[in-house]
Symmetry: C2
Subunit: 181 residues, 2 copies
DNA sequence: AATAGTTATGTTATAATATAACAATATGAA
DNA sequence: TTCATATTGTTATATTATAACATAACTATT
């Protein structure tokens, strides 16, 4: 099997990302509805943040986005309360990690192990494990889905039962490769 | 190509590990001598610790081993000095991380990204990227080396230039699979 | 051997990532 | 409503990793 059988590397292709976002968001909502799992406001917010780009984000980066949003949404009263507390009304890490846990469980986001970062899934609902191409130029991450990773076959051959796999290939995408020295 | 072309999964095979350790240590020394890089006492110590098993260790776990060794090697005088300082004469994290950096650069150890942990390389000097089978039962990690990871070919096909790869397969080894429910 | 340049180690402090534990709130079913 | 459960909020802390600078060890040259 060759790449023809894989879907394309969305992240590295010119595309209408606005549309991309909307489609992925709709798909996510549909999936959770079907599964009867709850895509709550917080979870939705984190998903929206991840959907902003095809670049992975650290949990604390996501947190910063949330807090920026919070601070601009403060009413005069809550702003005063915030000031009285002597610090910005900051949302704390567990909020983000729990939302991420949900998104990972539902297959709406992935964790990039080699970067301790998180990225939106571009194929919500896919069954098989994903593989990632990580560009060091533009920092975008493309998600592939091969179903014949020979290595898995080999693993089986030595009696190893596979639960999950992490495949992360780092380098330069076509665009960034051209400009690289 | 099938596994016959790969070397065996040492970690999952019964073997004389004492011998295994000695061989790997000799190979490491030989490599560094040939390359004219310095396998200093600290670096050697960390390598020795990693060679104790085929299970990956966290940096702070390695640190603990070092500190245990230090404390048992204290002379009466230095022990007194230690006590006077009010704390155990503890070696600090950078020591370990720097030794690990050296070992990773020399290809004498690997980082397991999905566990934030480090493991001795069982093929010091190998050129190609390694792939890992991580058992959730015994926690041992086997190192494979395929040179035809099809994914890399596919990456090239979409214009992606590969610098490095992380391939970590988690599951149960043959032994642990039998006992698992 | 003394000197100077370099590499490695030691030390202190702190950054970055992640989770435990418990309180408060919202949701959904009976 | 009332209870049970799931989610969110909050505080504190654990875990992993690095920055910055001081000291010591090694190397090559005089
Ligand atoms: Zn897009
Ligand atoms: Zn790129
Ligand atoms: Zn061994
Ligand atoms: Zn096992």
């Amino acid at each position: 099997m060759n790449l023809a059988n894989s879907k394309p590397c969305v992240a590295f292709e010119r595309h209408d990302h606005r549309d991309c976002q909307h489609q992925l968001m709709s798909a996510a909502k549909a999936l959770c509805a079907k599964r009867n799992t709850r895509l709550t406001r917080r979870r939705l917010q984190v998903l929206e943040i991840l959907l902003q780009s095809h670049q992975p984000m650290g949990a604390y980066e996501i947190l910063a986005h949330i807090n920026k949003a919070q601070s601009t949404q403060l009413t005069p009263q809550s702003r005063k309360k915030t000031i009285n507390r002597g610090a910005l009304q900051a949302v704390a890490p567990p909020i983000v990690y729990r939302a991420l846990e949900f998104l990972l469980d539902e297959g709406l986001a992935h964790r990039i192990e080699s970067k301790n970062a998180y990225i939106c899934c571009v194929r919500p609902g896919h069954q098989r494990a994903a593989q990632f191409l990580i560009c060091r130029g533009c920092e975008k991450v493309a998600e592939l889905e091969r179903h014949d990773l020979d290595l898995l076959t080999d693993a089986a051959r030595v009696g190893f039962t596979v639960d999950s796999s992490v495949v992360e290939i780092t380098g330069h995408c076509a665009d960034c490769g051209k400009n690289a020295s």
